[in-house]
């Protein structure tokens, strides 16, 4: 038997299935109507998916449930399915039978009838849309002839006036959109009555002001308008340009990627440089960053040194601390020669050429000290021998 189903959900997330089940023999038995409430659409979806219906019917029902929840329309969408009595029972459609009262023909209360205490006529609505800062356009018929466009939409599509817009089919108004997906979507909304919501859709428009193509992105909705018989007779469009938002996000993504690449490059330089490299906090000489070579000069491992405040005893080479402190006072250190203090003759004398650059904050205070140390022990030894 033929069953007509419609779906809706309430603000408290309950899910309602309206059904009209027609008898196989015309006029033999009156149609049965029911309203079945589920705690959530998931309960009904699970039933529909496992009820053993034909796949085409499962797809019909599930797709209409999802559309009814995500894009509700009034009048409701109806889906026709062939069901057996067992199927009706498995879908729990006749749990609450209402005989002889066609609930489906009852007018749906609109928000102004139920909650707003004033008349909302067409003229007020027209004025509201005409002056709204948000772009609106209304089109009529399968050719999508523009019947209403507000100033904001005229500006949005890059036209100076609505002179060659109102009264013309949208394909003639915006010929530059041919080949882009918008006309096809409009046709589909008109044909199916299913609204379409576009998010950050790219478009190319021709500006009457500059004569140039403008690449832009839009959030928009194509919402079908129905006549008294419930047949789609036009489409209302609300649109918003979001080009700046899209570009800003792309720039941020690109900047993040660039920073990450720079960080990788710096990391590679730190790890592979043939000199000791380190970054110190200028206030307490805390090690912020250090490579293995510099750590070995300081008698420890890099992982153990990062984050440590270098007290006097931590410096194997006391003169290194002295040049760091000079740099912390603002002095640029270039090729300062420092030597270690060997505790035993076996340890040997080692010599480094050290350069330290203080980094200044915007306030003028010194924040960090960047040091580069080149060991020149062999050179000084040879020089001593030669002398």
């Amino acid at each position: 038997m033929l069953a007509k189903l419609a779906f809706l959900h309430t603000t408290d997330d309950r899910f309602i299935v309206l059904s009209e089940i027609l008898s196989e023999v015309p006029h033999a038995r009156p149609a049965r109507f029911s309203v079945t409430t589920f705690d959530h659409e998931h309960s009904f979806l699970a039933l529909a998916a496992t009820a053993g219906l034909e796949e085409e019917q499962v797809v019909d029902i599930i797709a209409n449930v999802l559309l009814s929840v995500s894009q509700p329309v009034v009048p409701h969408r109806w889906v026709d399915v062939e069901l057996e009595e067992d199927d009706i029972e498995r879908l729990r459609l006749l749990n609450e039978i209402v005989q002889g009262d066609n609930l489906l023909d009852r007018p749906t209360p609109t928000s102004n009838e139920s909650t707003i205490g004033f008349e909302w006529d067409g003229k007020q609505f027209y004025n509201f849309l005409a002056h709204a800062p948000t772009p609106f356009v209304m089109m009529e018929g399968p050719e999508h002839t523009v019947k209403f466009i507000n100033d904001a939409y005229v500006r949005l599509i890059g036209r100076m006036t609505d002179e060659f817009v109102t009264g013309y089919p949208i394909r003639k108004v915006l010929p530059e959109l041919e080949g882009q997906p918008f006309f096809g979507i409009l046709d589909r909304v008109y044909k199916t009555g299913v609204p379409f919501i576009g998010v950050e859709a790219p478009a190319i428009l021709k500006s009457e002001f500059t004569g140039e193509d403008k690449h832009c992105f839009f959030d928009f909705i194509y919402h079908p308008l129905r006549n008294k018989e419930g047949i789609v007779s036009g489409i209302m469009v609300q649109s918003m340009e979001v080009t700046e938002r899209v570009i800003a996000r792309d720039v941020a993504d690109s900047r993040e990627q660039k920073l990450y690449t720079q960080w990788l490059e710096l990391e590679a330089i730190y790890n592979n440089a043939p000199v000791g490299v380190a970054l110190f906090d200028a206030h307490d000489l805390r090690v912020c960053r250090i490579n293995d070579l510099q750590a070995s000069y300081m008698g420890d491992e890099a992982n153990a040194l990062v984050g440590r405040v270098m007290k006097d005893a931590a410096f194997k080479v006391s003169s290194f601390k002295e040049v760091l402190e000079r740099a912390a006072r603002g002095e640029l250190i270039k090729n300062a020669i420092i030597k270690n203090d060997p505790e035993s003759p076996e340890e040997g004398q080692r010599t480094w050429s050290v350069s330290i650059t203080p980094f200044f904050a915007k306030s003028g205070t010194i924040e960090k000290l960047s040091s580069i140390s080149l060991e020149i022990s062999d050179l000084t030894a040879k020089h001593a021998v030669t002398a």
């Binding site: 998931h42 998916a49 797809v59 599930i62 929840v69 995500s70 997906p181 919501i197 998010v199």
Partner: protein, 113 residues
């Protein structure tokens, strides 16, 4: 989703229809694809792929970037509904299947929690 999985997905011919009924998971994926193609604006770009990793089966649903929000819905509501459908169909064959959704541009990914 790992890069490896996405690479596998990208290599799939986008217009190749899934063979129905080969396995329960593929049958579930075929039904899912039929439903999704009713929701999206560019049905030809909607594809599904069955992936199996460490004993977990995942159906990877790929749609055009413009349709991503249509198959995930506000706050992921439509995605949760699709997961309910997938779980329900798969459970009739005692299968446990996860659903991941991604846009063709790879920027948007909605993976199972």
């Amino acid at each position: 989703l790992s890069k490896q999985k996405r690479a596998t997905s990208a290599a799939t011919e986008p217009f190749t229809p899934l063979t129905k009924g080969t396995t329960a998971v593929e049958s579930t994926a075929a039904t899912l694809l039929s439903v999704v193609r009713r929701l999206v604006s560019i049905p030809d770009l909607a594809t599904v792929q069955c992936l199996s990793t460490n004993g977990t089966t995942t159906i990877l649903l790929t749609v055009a970037a413009i349709d991503f929000i249509r198959v995930t819905g506000e706050d992921g509501r439509t995605a949760r509904s699709l997961r309910t459908v997938v779980s329900a169909i798969a459970s009739t064959s005692n299968e446990h299947v996860q659903l991941a959704i991604e846009a063709i541009d790879g920027k948007h990914i909605e993976a199972a929690p």
